[in-house]
Amino acid sequence: MDFSNESRVLHRCSAQVLDIGNLLLLSLWHLVHSIISICNFTLDIANVLESYLISSGLLGRYKSLHIAKLRYLAIVIESEEAYQTSKIIELLQWLEAVGVKHVCLYDKEGILKKSKDFILENLDGAIWFQVLSYWQPSIYAMQDAHENNVLLDQQHMTLEFVSFSDGKEAVAKAANVLFMKYSKSGVTDQNQKEKIFTESQMSEALKTVGSGGPEPDLLLVYGPARCHLGFPAWRIKYTEIVHMGPLKSMNYGSLIKAIYKFTMVRQNYGK
C-alpha cells in the first residue's frame, strides 16, 4: 500500500539522517582529540627545551634546591617499562647527583623487586632498605631503631622495593594481626558499636607484616597516566603526586623541575 511504502521511505530517510548526524559527531570528536594531541605535542617540545635549559644550568632558580625538604622520595614505574633496568639505574644516579638519599621504587607487578640485586650492584654505595616483618613485640624497638639509623645515614643512598602485594594485601594481613589481638583480649562481648582499633595500631600492624615503610613526601609517576597504580594507600596520605611521562622519555631537567616545585609547596594538612 502507498501508506506503508511512504512510511518505509520516511523511516529509511530518517535513519540516513541519523547516520549522517552520528558521522558528523564522530568526526567532530576525532577533530577535538587531534587538536589536543597537537597541543600536547607542542607542549612536549616546549618541555624538552626547558629541560635542556635546566640541565645546562642556564635557569638560575633551579641551581640550588632545598633538597633537605625531600626526606623520602617514591617512584612509581609502569610495570612494562620496569624491565628497562638501565634507565632506572640512570634515574637513580641522577637522584644521587641531586642529593636525594632515600628512594622507594614501586611497580605493580614486582618486576623491580626481581631486578633488585642487579640495580644495587650497579649503583655505587646504595643500600637495600628492607622493612622487616616481625612477629615478636621485642623486635618492634629494634626495627624502629634500625629504620632511624638507616634513614639518618647521609653517606649512602637507600633503596626500598615495593609492589602491589605491599599495598592492599598487606592491609589484609595486618587486619589478621589485629584480629588476633582482638580475639585474644576477649572484648567480644562488649558493646559492638565501640571503636576497637586506632590508626596507630593499624600502623603498628602494618609494620608487623612488613609494609611499614616511611611516608614519601613526593611521588613521581613514570607512566602514560597520572595514577599511583596501587602504591600502598596507608603511606600516601599527604604525598605530592607528580606525573613525569613515560620512562623512555625521562630527562634530567624535568626531574629537577618536579623536585623544585615540590620544595615550593606549602601544606595545611586540613587545618
Binding site: W29, K108, W135, K168, T188, Y238, G270
Partner: protein, 364 residues
C-alpha cells in the same frame, strides 16, 4: 538580591531573583548539550570524585567575608553536579569535610556545619536537584563525629532518597581514608569473630563425634608462609563460606592446619605462638574481599577520575584505597571558579588515557 556567580558561558544562573536573559540562556544550553553529544562519542567516566579545595583562598582573593568562599563553592558544586548528571556520569563523590578539618577554628567549623545543614535541608525540597535527576544521596564517613542535628539531617536525606536509582551523590563528611580503612578492618574483625563463635558452637556439639582423620595435606612452616601461600587459604576455605552450612569438615581442616603451624612454631618463642594456641577454636582469615565489603565507599565502584581544584597535587587522605587505577587531575582554578571548561577538559583527558587505565584495571 542577586548572588554573585562566576560569569562563564554555559553556567547555570543563580537561583533567586537574578536577571535572566532567556534567549541567551537557550543558546548556551543548546551549545552545551551539543558539546556533551560530541563528548559522548568517546568513553564517559562512570564515577567522578572531586576535592573541593580553594574556597578560603577564593574569598581572600575576591575580598569577601570568610564564609562567603564556601557559599560560592556550593554554587559551583551545584552547577557542576548538573553538568555531570546531564552528561550521564552516574556516580559523583565530593570531599565536603575531612576529619582533619575539625582542627580548624571552632567558629569556622561551626559555620561550615551550619552551611551543610542548610544545604541538606534544601536537598529535601521538592524542586531540588535530587528529585530532578533521581539522585540517591549517601553520606560517607564517620557520622558519629558530627553534631546531632547535622547527623540527623544527613540520615534523613539518605532515607528519603534511598529509592532513587538513576544516579548517586556520595558526600564525604567526617571522612579520611585512613579512618575508612581502620573502620573496614574493624567491621571485618567483628564479622569474622561472629562467624567463628558460631563455628565453635557447632564444634562443641560435635565433640562427641570421633575426631578422626584430620583433613590436611599442607605443611605450614611459618605463619608468614601460611599467608603467602594462597593455595593453603583456598583449600581451607573451599569447603564452605561459613561454618553454618558445612560445619564439621571446614572447621576441622582449619584446626588441623593451625595445629601444624603451632607445632612447628612451638620451638620458637613464646608470646606469639601462645596467642595462636588460644585461637585454636577461632581461625582468623580475613581476606581482602572482606575488608573491601566493609569500606564506606563499597556502595559505588572505584572512581575513574579524581579532580582536585586549586592545582594541588596530593590526595590529602581522600579515597586512597579506591584510586589504584584512577586518573588524577589538578586544574589550577580554585573551587568556586571551577566550571564547564574544567569539566570538559577533564573528560577529554580521561578519554585520552582510558584504554590504558582500563587495561590496568583488568590486570587486577
Amino acid at each position: 538580591m542577586v548572588t554573585s556567580v562566576p560569569n562563564k558561558v554555559g553556567n547555570y544562573s543563580s537561583t533567586g531573583n537574578g536577571v535572566h536573559k532567556p534567549f541567551f540562556d537557550d543558546i548556551t544550553n543548546f551549545l552545551r548539550r551539543f558539546l556533551f553529544r560530541v563528548l559522548s562519542v568517546g568513553p564517559i567516566p562512570t564515577h567522578l570524585a572531586f576535592i573541593m579545595d580553594g574556597n578560603r583562598r577564593y574569598a581572600k582573593k575576591q575580598n569577601l567575608k570568610e564564609g562567603e568562599g564556601h557559599k560560592a563553592g556550593y554554587l559551583a558544586l551545584m552547577s557542576l553536579l548538573r553538568y555531570c548528571y546531564e552528561l550521564g556520569i552516574k556516580y559523583v563523590t565530593i570531599y565536603a569535610f575531612s576529619i582533619e578539618n575539625f582542627k580548624r577554628r571552632p567558629d569556622e567549623v561551626q559555620s561550615l556545619m551550619d552551611l551543610m545543614l542548610e544545604k541538606m535541608e534544601a536537598l529535601l525540597m521538592e524542586e531540588s536537584i535530587v528529585n530532578q535527576y533521581g539522585i540517591r544521596v549517601c553520606f560517607i564517613g564517620n557520622l558519629r563525629l558530627l553534631s546531632e542535628p547535622v547527623r540527623a539531617a544527613a540520615e534523613k536525606v539518605m532515607k528519603v532518597t534511598s529509592n532513587n536509582s538513576k544516579a548517586m551523590l556520595l558526600v564525604c563528611v567526617a571522612y579520611t581514608a585512613s579512618n575508612e580503612i581502620v573502620h573496614a578492618v574493624e567491621g571485618s574483625c567483628k564479622e569474622k569473630e561472629k562467624e567463628f563463635r558460631l563455628c565453635n558452637l557447632n564444634n562443641n556439639v560435635m565433640d562427641d563425634v570421633k575426631e578422626g582423620e584430620k583433613v590436611n595435606g599442607m605443611v605450614v612452616h611459618d605463619i608468614q608462609d601460611f599467608y603467602e601461600d594462597t593455595s593453603v587459604e583456598s583449600q581451607g576455605l573451599k569447603q564452605g563460606k561459613g561454618c553454618n552450612g558445612t560445619p564439621y569438615h571446614a572447621c576441622e581442616s582449619f584446626e588441623s592446619n593451625w595445629d601444624q603451624v603451632l607445632t612447628s612454631k612451638a620451638s620458637k618463642s613464646g608470646e606469639v605462638s601462645e596467642g595462636f594456641r588460644n585461637l585454636r577454636q577461632e581461625v582468623p582469615l580475613i581476606k581482602l574481599v572482606d575488608i573491601e565489603k566493609h569500606m564506606y565507599m563499597a556502595v559505588a565502584p572505584d572512581p575513574d577520575m579524581l579532580i582536585r581544584s586549586s592545582g594541588e597535587s596530593r590526595l590529602s587522605n581522600f579515597l586512597l584505597w579506591q584510586t589504584s587505577n584512577c586518573q588524577l587531575y589538578s586544574p589550577a582554578a580554585l573551587w568556586p571558579e571551577i566550571g564547564l571548561s574544567q569539566l570538559v577538559w577533564a573528560i577529554l583527558k580521561f578519554q585520552q588515557s582510558h584504554s590504558y587505565l582500563e587495561k590496568k584495571m583488568k590486570q587486577l
